[in-house]
Symmetry: C2
Subunit: 294 residues, 2 copies
Amino acid sequence: MKMSETTHFEGNWFSEISYKKTYAQSFKVKEVLFREKSPFQLVEVLDTESVGRLLLLDGKTMVSDIDEFVYHESIAHVPAMTVKNLKKVLVVGGGDGGAVREFVRHPEVESVDLVEIDDMVIEASRKFFPGCSSALDHPKVKIYREDGIKFIQNNKNTYDVIVVDSTDPEDFAQGLFQEDFYRDVYDSLTENGVLTAQTENPFLDEFNIKGIYDNLRKVFPKVYSYNAPIVIYPGCFWTFAYASKGPNPLELNPEKISWMKEQQKTLQWYNCDWHKGAFALSNLQKKITGVGEV
Amino acid sequence: MKMSETTHFEGNWFSEISYKKTYAQSFKVKEVLFREKSPFQLVEVLDTESVGRLLLLDGKTMVSDIDEFVYHESIAHVPAMTVKNLKKVLVVGGGDGGAVREFVRHPEVESVDLVEIDDMVIEASRKFFPGCSSALDHPKVKIYREDGIKFIQNNKNTYDVIVVDSTDPEDFAQGLFQEDFYRDVYDSLTENGVLTAQTENPFLDEFNIKGIYDNLRKVFPKVYSYNAPIVIYPGCFWTFAYASKGPNPLELNPEKISWMKEQQKTLQWYNCDWHKGAFALSNLQKKITGVGEV
């Protein structure tokens, strides 16, 4: 197995070493299916024994066959079920296409714009993750190969839901967790719009989750947190932000509940009960996000 | 660092290699604080950089400073808040004392019996996990250094709650997941008693979770599942069974809710809202446990 510069391999094991090099998660690899350096990052696709195909960006786990549905169903259906007049959706990052795939299920959605800075992520997903990328050519979907921050600044008062499906708050993704960016997101959302975003692991709090939520609270009148487990991510237990200009995440759109009860039979993770339960936070999550009182 | 027979060390990293040797989780170790072979297993305590002190049994992660409260508060307060007339509690396994510590908080509990087959686990916990083991000398607590299966057979119609705080369903713990054992648990419970038990990770379903729940369903009239994240366990997202002779896990004892609202300010994980949310299962958990319909 050829060593890459960024990614940690030992024998036929790939390891993601994280939390200031004190913790690692390793996956036994059958084959490296893809490895190329884009202008932004190293893009790799491994075929593993434990989690199926695994997408890495700069040596960090992003998407796997075994659990991609958890992340994508959680980040998409939670806002989609609570925003009324859901017509226009924007996904920032998420070039794998998983979040896009979930939004196009919703019949009232007119368009899903995907802004992915790195074309190579999209192409690798098309080739190696046919399930994730299956909706990228859907007539409602438009792909913009641009910087998400600039794109949002140029589209005011446009989107009913914006999803920030980003890597960790470091390097070129750091800007996606700052107050200035959240202000641009706020302006890009319509009157009753909602932002959802991944906000890291609360046990091994490497990226100051409280700081992320404080930034959201400076901009949005209502900020909530929920969670879902992403097995391939370091620490697995993952928090998500739901930042809202109006909607309450526990008030599912009554006109859509019976539709979703049918739809969810085809989903692998999301259902309306789970949706509500995911916002019932533990004391730890309340403390680390500053959302709710113990 | 001295190598042990059972435990995988490389340099100053400890690894738990699991799921048929296709997945590993590793912790950087400052110091091995304890390592001794009991008649049952290798008992080790590591001081790690990422999760504080870490108890291993035969090279498998059991308890860490960073997340012990999740497991113990989840496995104890869920039954304790839903069983009426909670007087006598039995914890099978759990020699670290964490579950016991949570039960003695409940004022109406008269006795907590702990049956731990391996005295060395208790002694290692007393020495290295003062937080977990803090209630082992509480006047309500009685420790039995015996085999849990036999103990339960000798105590019919005795306990209002039984917790099976066991290792994985293999080796000498395998019997704790079988129909015969669950029948003994049923007989050892009082009329409206409840069993809670850890039931493994649903993504990397190494131990046939469906089989465990099928065994429970052969014996108990009501079987539910809930979940909590245990960061140090392989795959982290952990399922728990709530098998009941009567109580419904969503019906919290109304006489105790206001007491718990005060008590939970001192807890790190559990609160009454989280309790209810933890039973709102994803499609995956419903499918893998056979509990509830999608």
